[in-house]
Amino acid sequence: MLQALFRFDGSTEHLIIRTVRLPRAILAVVVGAALAVAGAITQGLSRNPLAAPDILGINMGASLALVLAIFLYGGGDHHVGFAFGGAAISALTVYWLGSLGRSGLTPLKLVIAGSAIGYLLSSLTSGILILSQRTLDEIRYWLAGSLAGQDLDTMLSVFPYIAVGLVASLALGRELTLMSLGEDVAQGLGMKTAWVKVGAAIAVVLLAGSAVALAGPIGFVGLVVPHVVRFLVGADYRWIVPYSMILGAILLSVADLASRLVIRPQELPAGIMTAIVGAPFFIHLARSKMKR
């Protein structure tokens, strides 16, 4: 296998590794890292253990925008910009709805707003798919959250965005730790909270948007990983962000491996694997963290 990477000789095995398996493995690593970091930041910003890009409908926003783009302009190249736009709009809407009222941003309101928006967006998505058979054909497998069938070129065109998002998140680690103490405290310590929020929000949109553009709406990585990391390294976001990156990459790689091996020769979309692990975890969190 290593030979295929370093001394490529054109044999079938080497070709398989170079053109099919390697891109897929890289994709799993990158998407997993992006989703996990996006989840960590969302949870830190909203101080809400149940927040994650998929629960809050951000992933659905990106998917709808992508489906819309393919519906309007045809497939082929990936319309990453649309994914960012969709992610940003749905994130803003859900955040605004969740923070309405005197009690401010409560976990319950945020999650309810997110699930309603998510329901609406996925209904609209399936509406487009019903209206246009062509779009359905191009996109069906992608919508279940799958890592299969991406080539290196499309991946390379999206990677810069993810890189920017990851670097920004790493740089914001200290500020995020302060923010997670509460906005008042952070302001009292002399931090410009508005800028941190904007920066972190942009990072989340970049990360979630490009992850969805590459692999479809893969759920629950962004929810589960930050909790495991917090259990391992404590509440300091300077450590949470890099560890989330690593663990997210590992989780999605393992999920991908499992999804290919469980029922060979068919394969499950990786999004289904992560949901089967992640949904019980969400229920456990709701049970244990929500004492009120």
């Binding site: 709805l97 005197r102 309603a116 329901y119 019903i130 949904a279 969400f282 229920i283 709701a286």
Partner: protein, 349 residues
């Protein structure tokens, strides 16, 4: 006092029952019933092959009409429109009961995950045992919904159940069950899968007399039962301890009401798939029309639900003709913004 009494009491002589309903109820009921009837007739008369209103009435009532009209109306459109009507009533009543029980205006069978559980079992039945007839779908979906409801209740029980945990656990379970559903869809036989997919989108497409026959007994049984229990629902709404003080057997009536809600939701979902947000919208609209007392609210909400589904069905069939959008999609497009508006309006509560 010159103010008119705001209530009307109805006490049948023979039966040990009494209803006390808001003064507005009879008027509103008549209006809603006629609206529903008009939308039903409109639904039957419009489409690829329009049938004049009068001919529709003639064909339905069995007067001699042209064979074409008779076929279109009685075989194709009427059963389908009636299914939409009953599904709307079932979902709306289920939602009304659930909101009353949880004392939470945002609870609805589709948010809490009862619909998702019912869909999972029904899809499993369609995909794995395609030879089983449609008559078995409602009981299966009912069991699925019931299982989910029990699971939610048990999981949310953490030294006492709280409405908030109930909803969060429900959202988690919805994610899990809908994932399992898509798993079924990924690996079933192709033709059964496409049948299941169509069904999942919340559509009354191709529903005919057999499906109507399978759905009807559930509504005939559980709608009146809910109506009889409406008074107990009002009492429960005051809070458990007060209800106990008023002599209500709290756990017993709550269980019975939950059973009604799950049965109605399950049977509706089994027939038409995921028609979302009806169980959420209809009770709210009903409350605005006749106030919160359940004896009046349940029938009004049921008719409102029927009306919503009929209208969604009309729009879905005609908006992008000849392509049909499933009415579940239309109700979501109307319902989700309404839900968010509700969230906005109740922001300070």
């Amino acid at each position: 006092m010159s103010i008119a009494k705001p209530w009307i009491a109805i006490r049948p002589r023979r039966l040990p029952l009494s209803f006390r309903v808001d003064r507005r109820v009879p008027g509103v009921l008549v209006v809603m019933a006629s609206l529903t009837l008009v939308s039903l007739l409109f639904n039957v008369s419009q489409g690829e092959y329009p049938v004049p209103f009068l001919e529709v009435v003639k064909a339905v009532l069995g007067f001699p009409s042209t064979p074409d009209y008779d076929l279109v109306v009685n075989t194709l459109r009427l059963p389908r429109a009636l299914v939409a009507l009953l599904v709307g009533m079932g979902l709306a009543t289920a939602g009304t009961i659930l909101q009353g029980l949880t004392r939470n205006p945002l609870a609805a069978p589709e948010i809490i995950g009862i619909n998702a559980g019912a869909s999972l079992v029904a899809v499993a039945l369609i995909v794995a045992l395609p030879q089983v007839g449609t008559a078995w779908l409602p009981p299966a979906a009912f069991l699925g919904g019931l299982g989910t409801a029990v699971a939610i209740y048990l999981l949310a029980w953490n030294g006492g159940s709280s409405p908030m945990r109930l909803i969060l656990v429900g959202i988690g379970l919805t994610a899990l069950t809908s994932t399992l559903t898509s798993l079924m869809i990924t690996f079933g036989e192709l033709d059964t899968v496409s049948q299941a997919l169509m069904w999942l989108a919340g559509s009354v497409y191709g529903r005919s007399w057999p499906q109507l026959g399978a759905l009807l007994p559930w509504l005939v049984l559980f709608l009146p039962l809910s109506l009889v229990l409406a008074r107990d629902l009002d009492t429960l709404n005051l809070g458990d301890s007060l209800a106990q003080g008023l002599g209500s057997r709290v756990e017993w009536t709550r269980g019975l009401l939950l059973l009604c809600s799950v049965a109605l939701a399950g049977a509706s979902v089994a027939t038409a798939g995921n028609v979302g947000f009806v169980g959420l919208m209809a009770p709210h609209l009903g409350r605005q029309l006749v106030g919160p007392s359940h004896a009046g609210l349940i029938p009004v909400a049921a008719l409102t639900g029927a009306c919503i589904v009929e209208v969604a069905e009309i729009v879905g069939r005609l908006a992008f003709a000849p392509i049909e959008l499933p009415c579940g999609l239309m109700t979501a497009v109307i319902g989700a913004p309404y839900f968010l508006w509700l969230l906005y309006r109740t922001r300070n509560q």
